[in-house]
């Protein structure tokens, strides 16, 4: 962190350090990969950490079945590009097997069900660490999250029972059946992620750049009406409009809101993020349910 290196160099090196610690300290780690920009940056950093060898862990996609086709296309391209192994955990399968119950109503989302599938997949493959792209600046409950976040044998996060992290020494010791979530991008902000994408010329799914899309406006956000995953009310069907939008996060299509935007290049996006007056999670319906929604989901084992 000397004055002679930039903040992006510092953050990059810190993330690489965490990635190498994860590979070294755990027997069977996996990296969560959704096709969203944070997981893309994390996987990009993993390439740097282990070059010229391949990634020493598989990429793990928890598939809600409500994907934007562009995100899946990108995922498959990326996996080939870095010669990684892909493991898919399917929410649809969890529902079919009766492990998870689909939410009902027009606000229904599979976001919460991902937790079941994630924990099942972790158990099935005996993963003992899952790398995630979570950042502390995303949400209040994340501000105290550790780089190495301990989960008990039920996958639960106890905010009161997290290990202190000192200097750059990380403690991944655990008992059988427990696992860790590891967040190499903990110290990155949304702005850092975008600046890094620009600096490194990292290709992204075009969802992140402005495009024409048929959307409906609900609770002040624009939801996709193109993939057919969002359950529309009758009165909403007449309100579908084609708008110029882009996504600030890419997750499950049912709860990821688009923003009106003309930002079609990475420079435009960086400028837009700099001027933005809303956190990116502000465009996610799942965090709006209550003030502590994120914290509650984390305790149950959410990313």
């Amino acid at each position: 962190m000397s004055s002679s290196i930039t903040h992006l160099q510092y953050l990059e090196s810190e993330a690489i350090y965490i990635l190498r610690e994860t590979a070294a300290q755990f027997g069977k780690p996996a990296m969560l990969f959704s096709g969203g920009k944070d997981s893309i940056v994390m996987a990009w950093l993993a390439r740097k950490a282990f070059h010229p060898a391949h990634l020493p862990f598989p990429l793990l996609h928890i598939d809600t079945g409500h994907n934007f086709p562009e995100a899946i296309e990108y995922r498959d391209w990326f996996v080939k590009e870095v010669k990684a192994t892909l493991v898919v955990g399917s929410v649809q399968k969890s529902i079919d097997e009766g492990r998870a119950v689909e939410e009902k109503g027009h606000n229904a989302s599979r976001n919460k069900l991902q937790t079941v599938t994630l924990l099942d997949t972790i158990e099935q493959h005996e993963f003992d660490a899952c790398l995630g792209g979570g950042r502390r600046d995303e949400e209040k409950a994340r501000a105290k999250e550790r780089f190495f976040s301990h989960r008990d044998e039920f996958g639960q996060w106890d905010p009161k029972n997290q290990r202190p992290e000192l200097w750059n020494i990380f403690n991944g010791r655990k008992n059988f059946g427990e696992h860790f979530r590891v967040f190499p991008l903990s110290n990155w902000t949304e702005m850092d992620v975008w600046q890094y994408i620009r600096q490194e010329n990292i290709p992204l799914p075009n969802l992140y750049f402005s495009h024409q899309r048929r959307v409906i406006e609900r609770h002040g956000q624009f939801l996709d009406a193109e993939t057919g995953f969002v359950q529309l009310l009758d009165e909403e069907k007449s309100r579908i409009k084609e708008m110029t939008v882009r996504f600030r996060t890419v997750g499950d299509a049912t709860c990821t809101g688009a923003v009106l935007s003309d930002a079609s290049t990475i420079d435009d996006v960086v400028a837009e993020v700099a001027a933005a007056r809303q956190t990116e999670r502000g465009t996610r319906a799942d965090d709006r349910r209550s003030e502590t929604a994120m914290e509650d989901r984390k305790k149950e084992g959410y990313f």
Partner: protein, 439 residues
């Protein structure tokens, strides 16, 4: 303020904040975030709603930095929380730690990665016991820069005389600190913004920089790149491909100093000499490896090197010994007793260690040493002797924060139970032969 930080020029500063309850720490952080436009509308909205529900008169900026539900209910912060903001000149990471007496461990945790500490005092109360504790801890952890923020100047009529009085009090005990620190004193009002971002018109007698300007310009890590070169090995890269058939890269992050291709180096614990043949990154080969950055290094000879080993320049050997004296801060309810056994994590290495002796505790209010403790309780700080199952290769903490620090991990619970700073190797003559190490 323009948030379009130029990534090629802006550096990073990590700082921590400390103060007694109600000195205005949360207000100060809230003000820095607010005035640098790092608060978003939806966050502000959520805070406005919470403030209303709690019956606060105006928007409580302090709520912005308050994290989890239990804490919100109790109205206190109980752990380390990290905050981020940026100006066109620099990016900042704040480790926000509470000031209660019982939370020494949180301040130690936050301080371990900080370059600078802001220590708040209430201008009405001046230097209090907590101020001495926080300053002691900052100096113990070797934070390079301290800002003594004399807050609530509006409540003492922005008096220069009061400011000078507090300054004199502070100088009096500063001389007794073990590690020397650079101190900058700034009188302010966090509530009204005086000397936080903008220079205060209420204190024309103060000629120093307002807080933010100081944070943007203060130099840190000046000595790090000139220090002895240290490279703890994290991982060995061995690609299973024809193209890189014989490649064996030692992956790690430079702890201090600079390595160049061609440098004669020694790998410990083997103690074998060799030469650097390449410094590699995905972007290509580099001529030198600099502090804080991550590389993989290739060496001339086939030496058996693995995770946990230390590479140094051949003419800059580290100290080594299985017996060390160290300052520790104890982190858990279950006390440390003599003969306790642990895993000790030092850089990327883990060894088993036992504690034959508790040497003294430090009263962090008076900085007095209390010899002959029978145990260390939660938040206790002091010096212990450690005996490791194999030698540590280290530098004293006062010359190197990375190769001089360690943690102790409980063998049963796997919890991190202590933070340690190595003082020195212990000579054979002072080791009791009765202490048996059972592996």
């Amino acid at each position: 303020m323009d948030l379009l930080v130029n990534p090629t020029e802006s550096s990073l500063l990590r700082f921590t904040t400390a103060g007694s309850v109600d000195d205005g720490k949360s207000t100060l952080i809230g003000r820095l975030l607010y005035d640098s436009k790092s608060i978003f509308e939806d966050q502000l909205l959520a805070v406005e709603e919470s403030s209303k529900r709690r019956g606060d008169e105006h928007v409580n900026l302090a709520l912005l930095t308050d994290g989890l539900r239990a804490e919100r209910e109790q109205g206190i912060t109980i752990d380390v929380a990290y905050r981020y903001f940026a100006t066109p000149k620099r990016k900042f990471i704040i480790a926000d730690t509470p000031g209660h007496i019982q939370y020494t461990r949180n301040m130690v945790t936050g301080a371990s990665t900080a370059d600078l500490a802001i220590i708040l005092v209430d201008a009405r109360h001046g230097v209090v016991e907590q101020t001495r504790r926080h300053t002691f801890l900052a100096s113990l952890l070797r934070i390079e820069q301290i800002v003594l923020a004399i807050n609530k100047m509006d409540l003492v009529e922005f008096s220069e005389a009061r400011y000078n009085e507090i300054l004199a009090d502070f100088e009096q005990f500063r001389g007794s600190l073990e590690n020397k620190v650079n101190v900058t004193v700034i009188p302010m009002s966090a509530l009204n913004g005086d000397n936080v971002v903008d220079r205060s018109a209420n204190m024309p007698w103060f000629t120093g920089k307002p807080l933010l300007e100081h944070l943007e310009s203060v130099q840190v890590h000046v000595g790090e790149s000139e220090g002895t070169a240290r490279f703890p090995v994290q991982w060995v890269i061995r690609p299973q491909s024809d193209e890189y058939h014989d490649f064996r890269g030692f992956a790690g992050r430079v702890a201090s100093g600079t390595f160049k291709v061609g440098d004669e180096v020694t790998a410990y614990p083997a103690g074998m000499n060799t030469r650097i043949t390449g410094i590699h990154t995905l972007e290509g080969a580099k001529e030198e490896a600099i502090p804080s950055l991550s590389y993989s290094i290739t060496l001339a000879n086939e030496i058996d090197i693995s995770r946990g080993d230390l590479i140094t320049k051949a003419d800059e050997p580290p100290q080594h010994s299985p017996h060390i004296d160290a300052m520790i801060c104890w982190f858990t309810e279950k006390p440390l007793k003599p003969r306790g056994k642990f895993y000790l994590r030092h850089t990327t290495r883990t060894v088993r260690a036992s504690v034959p002796d508790l040497l003294y505790k430090v009263n962090i209010s008076t900085m007095e040493r209390v010899p002959g403790p029978t145990e260390f309780g939660l938040n206790d700080i002091g010096c212990i002797r450690l005996r490791c199952a194999s030698p540590l290769f280290f530098d004293p903490y006062n010359t190197n924060r990375t190769t001089g620090s360690f943690i102790l991990v409980d063998e049963q619970t796997n919890n991190t139970v202590a933070a340690g700073m190595i003082l020195r190797a212990v000579g054979d003559e002072s080791i009791k032969s009765t202490d048996e190490f059972a592996i």
